[in-house]
């Protein structure tokens, strides 16, 4: 159907891949055309969803409050920034006491530091408190979606894989290893708290 544009899917990827997603592009020249991050495993992301452990939060704003949160998954850390334009997410970060399991939906963004490094971060649309099983479910889901992208990576018709090969040098082997170790880490930990002795 025409009319309202389709809402963008919230992509699932582990922190390592997210932080490597340094190339941003548009699909059209129109002024309001959405930005996409080019996923190293082949795909485009205008929105992401992840669940992890909020380990630290800090108000790094000068005048107005500007919160930075670190959300950790089995592979690395997502950096979440929320200020006056994300009032609900900022309010949640203000009130939370780490550590806590959180679910975050948001938009990927990049910025270049003085030394030329490109950092990737998240502008949250929402942050909410969830539990350990939900975090594990997300890890399993992110692994599944990553495996799907890796399996399609060498398809002839995969234009985003083609772009990823052009833009990124590292290859996808590391992401496959991350998937396996992330899944293995779920087996190591009990999902139900042990009864007190």
């Amino acid at each position: 159907m025409s009319g309202t544009p389709m809402r963008e899917v919230a992509r699932r990827m582990f922190a390592t891949e997210f932080n490597d997603m340094t190339y941003v592009f548009k699909e059209s020249d129109e002024e309001m055309a959405p930005n996409y991050g080019l996923m190293p495993t082949g795909g485009r992301a205008n929105r992401v969803f992840f669940v992890g452990t909020l380990t630290e939060k800090e108000d790094i704003g000068d005048d107005a409050e500007y919160w930075r949160g670190r959300v950790v998954d089995p592979t690395g850390t997502f950096f979440v920034y929320a200020g006056q334009y994300q009032p609900e997410a900022a309010a949640v970060l203000r009130d939370l006491e780490p550590p806590e399991y959180v679910a975050v939906a948001g938009k990927p963004g990049t910025y270049e530091t003085d030394d030329g490094t490109v950092n990737v971060s998240v502008r949250p649309e929402s942050i909410s408190v969830v539990d350990a099983n939900t975090r594990d479910r997300w890890v399993a889901e992110a692994a599944e979606r990553t495996v799907e992208r890796l399996r399609a990576f060498n398809d002839d018709t995969n234009e985003y894989a083609e772009m990823a090969r052009e833009r990124y040098d590292a290859g996808v082997g590391a992401y496959r290893r991350e998937v396996i170790s992330a899944l293995e880490s779920l087996d190591d930990e009990p999902t139900e708290p042990e009864a007190a002795p």
Binding site: M6, A10, A103, A105, S126, S128, R137, A140, R151, L186
Partner: protein, 310 residues
Amino acid sequence: MSDADLRAHAEEIQEQFSDHLDVDVEDVQHRLEQLVDEYKVPVDEARRSVTNHYLDEAGLERDEMRTGNDELALEDVDEPEEWIDITAKVVELWEPRADAIGQVGLLGDDTGTIKFTAWAKSDLPELEEGTVYRLGNVVTDEYEGQFSVKLNRTTTVTELDEELEVGDDSVEIEGAMVDVQSGSGLIKRCPEKDCTRVLENGRCSEHGGVDGEFDLRIKAVIDDGREVHDVIFDREATEELTGMTMDEAIEMAQDALDTTVVADEMRSKVLGWYYRVRGPTFRRYVLADEAKRLDGPVDTEETLIKARSI
């Protein structure tokens, strides 16, 4: 396109007109050949054009012709203005709201249901609830993404002596609740008869300032990383999802002198969790009949095997 193929099309066209017009099959074939071979017109379009020519000649409207329709399952109705045949049970008859409408209601087959309308002037036999009919030459229609069929005066109605199990068109989706949209929470609806519009700032877009009636709902987005689904939870489903009753919601809003606190509270309870939702679809929405929070442990064995085998 071979001559034999065009011949077959020509014969079909001649057959359609056999009751109305003495059509020479050679003449039909010649017209088709000219369009297809000389003017490179696709054969479907050529056929349509030639058929129109004979309709003109016979002084007929297209809908007066019994052309060889496709017999469609109801779930396959996805184009407006198509002439089709269907076999379906009358699931429900509704009260017609206009004099021009003879009968209106819901038809069903084993693939799903669809609305039907029969015009009063079409002078068709009355359909009865619970009876299965073969309906020849009905025309499809679309309004805001919902399809329906219209019975008209060329429609043939044949009562069939058979049972038909009407399938539900429910879908089951699974994913994380990534958004709870505005218009969720404690809302007020217009109390006018048959008007259930949601009030904005105490006003109904149809009936102006009214004393609204409270209702609860959640308009949510459920996303599995591949597909996005808009889901509506009605009052009952919302109460079950959030564990908050309408009375509690009203009390909470009265204490805060503000209804938005209800939506905020609901948001904090459901956002970021995984759900499996089942229900029928309406336009782009899934209407949640059942919703289950997926908070048990997950099985990762299969994914692990796949990952290792890449």
